[in-house]
């Protein structure tokens, strides 16, 4: 019974996410704006340096920035919006496990963002035809694990954002670019080619996107297979699992705190 409730809540939350986009295809156009232009802009910048072989970094960055934007705006701050319109208290007063709702949100987010990401990939390939040297199995596995750990981070952030009020929007605006910078969405931020000092690289490695981007670039452009990037995959798996557990614990703690202090269902306008 408990597991059935868990699965139904998960599926329903995913369904709402997916159907919102399916019912309103304009969402895809909305999602594609920044990733598309930034990958074109930075792709042209790579091309202007005379090194066309790196243009693919910009396209891959555009694809992954779509997911990072989704994690930030539709995962991390989702409960903040839900709190404002009264949806969050409906979740809380129902018997549905919050982790199931969060995983449903994540899966829906991946499915929703996929069309924009694919469009960026297709447009980038058509404009720039970047040279690829892929190890497809490694690419697929890395992408799956990167998304899993990235969305687990989103779940964790969404729990933390419960503690925030109006500042959630400003925090999102402030986080988007710096995380893209240090996690190396458009260039390697860890390893030999990183422009950052070692201490910054260590800090950057705590973000799943950093490990995922590094592994994806290796697998997609430098034909490195599973044997070369297995450490990345192990780290991503550990990060994903740990963040999932941590988000569940944090959610419980913050729910209790909210019930104690009376802030759990305070709407902000």
């Amino acid at each position: 019974m408990e597991s059935r409730l868990w699965l139904r809540a998960l599926y329903a939350r995913m369904w709402v996410r997916v159907m919102s986009v399916f019912n309103e295809p304009l969402w895809i156009a909305v999602n594609i704006g920044f990733p598309f232009f930034s990958s074109v802009g930075l792709g042209l910048l790579y091309a202007s340096t005379g090194l066309r072989s790196f243009v693919g970094f910009a396209i891959l960055g555009g694809i992954m920035i779509s997911f990072w934007g989704n994690v930030l705006w539709s995962m991390a701050s989702q409960f903040y919006w839900d709190k404002q319109v009264g949806l969050f208290e409906i979740y809380l007063t129902s018997p549905a496990p919050m982790t199931a709702i969060l995983i449903g949100m994540s899966l829906g987010g991946v499915v929703n963002t996929a069309p924009s990401a694919v469009l960026v990939a297709v447009a980038g390939w058509l404009f720039f035809a970047p040279p690829l040297s892929p190890s497809w199995l490694a690419v697929v596995l890395t992408l799956a694990l990167t998304l899993a750990s990235l969305y687990a981070m989103g779940m964790m952030l969404s729990s933390l954002y419960l503690a925030y009020g109006r500042e959630a929007e400003s925090i999102n605006e402030a986080l988007h670019e710096p995380v893209s910078l240090i996690s190396g969405v458009y260039f390697p931020s860890i390893g030999n080619f990183s422009p950052f000092p070692f201490s910054v690289q260590v800090f950057a490695s705590l973000i799943p996107l950093t490990i995922g981007m590094d592994a994806l670039r290796r697998a997609l452009f430098f034909s490195q297979g599973l044997s070369s990037i297995y450490l990345h995959l192990i780290v991503l798996s550990i990060m994903g699992g740990a963040l999932l557990l941590l988000s569940s614990k944090t959610m419980k703690l913050l729910e209790e705190k909210g019930r104690r202090e009376g802030t759990i269902s305070v709407r902000l306008r």
Binding site: V40, L44, A47, E167, S170, E177, L181
Partner: protein, 279 residues
């Protein structure tokens, strides 16, 4: 006179909206982080590409730092009038402003100018910060002219660009009167278009015709060129040409935008959408 009062009141509201949720210092730092990161990202992309290709030129890093800082500056405040309308429709502030005598345009101008001040300051900080960080991580001397004259010229370029950005803001506001959904996605499009077409990161000549021609006539492109002349290349005559173009082009654009906004207001009243909330 009443319009000036509305503009001033609206500037105060704008600052309160941006910083009211925290103390001014925290609010300002939060607003500065994103442009700094954006400027550094673009600089690193150039550094990585050109180092690998063996074509690294420190003066081109200055070119990118200035371009990236200033396109994010324009993007950062041009969409504020549109935001003021969509938020105002939610809170019912906009219909109230609309029905007060001659207040809608000064209200939008005030909100935009409030953000101009914030955005100009964050851009200048981004410029300075990116310059030092880039010099440190690229281990190169990045050319940058820092004299009272160059700083005055940079300030002049920022001010000369206000009409153009205001024009863009008012034009987006005209669109938002009709928008029933997703108007909040506008800034990402504005930022993206400016990144590609305003010579922020690379010369517009890289783009195929007619896109390159489009980029060339934009007052924002001339503004960024003027700013580069002020702090990177140091040619006052080239600066004067670009800044004049930016100002005159901006005024022309602003005129067209104001006309478009008036038209949108009339259409909005006809269609009964002035107080329709965006989803």
């Amino acid at each position: 006179m009443s319009s000036v009062k509305t503009v001033l009141a609206s500037i105060r509201i704008g600052w309160y909206r941006d910083f009211g949720w925290t103390n001014p210092l925290t609010g300002f730092l939060m607003k500065t982080i994103a442009p700094v990161a954006s400027v550094l990202s673009a600089s690193i992309v150039y550094w990585l590409g050109s180092s690998a290709a063996g074509s690294f030129d420190p003066s081109h890093v200055s070119y990118i730092i200035v371009g990236a800082a200033l396109y994010t500056h324009v993007a950062g405040y041009s969409w504020v009038p549109s935001q003021a309308i969509s938020e105002g429709k939610w809170s019912y502030v906009f219909p109230q402003v609309f029905i007060s005598p001659k207040s809608s345009t000064p209200f939008l101008v005030g909100r935009c100018l409030a953000s101009f001040v914030t955005s100009a300051l964050t851009s200048l900080i981004s410029l300075a910060f990116a310059y030092y960080v880039a010099a440190a991580i690229f281990k190169s001397s990045i050319p940058f002219i820092v004299t009272p004259l160059s700083m005055s010229l940079l300030l002049g370029a920022l001010l000369a660009n206000v009409p153009a950005t205001l024009g863009l803001g008012i034009l987006l506001a005209a669109y938002t009167i009709f928008a029933s959904k997703f108007e909040w996605a506008l800034p990402t499009y504005v930022a993206g278009l400016l990144m590609v077409f305003s010579e922020a990161l690379f010369p517009v000549s890289v783009l195929p015709w007619p896109l390159s021609a489009f980029g060339n006539v934009l007052p924002f492109t001339q503004f960024i060129r003027a700013a580069r002349e002020a702090v990177v290349y140091g040619s006052v005559s080239a600066y004067s040409y670009y800044v004049g173009y930016s100002l005159l082009g901006g005024l022309l654009f602003l005129g067209v935008s104001l006309w478009a906004y008036r038209w949108a207001e009339r259409q909005g009243r006809k269609k009964g959408i002035i107080d329709r909330k965006v989803v």
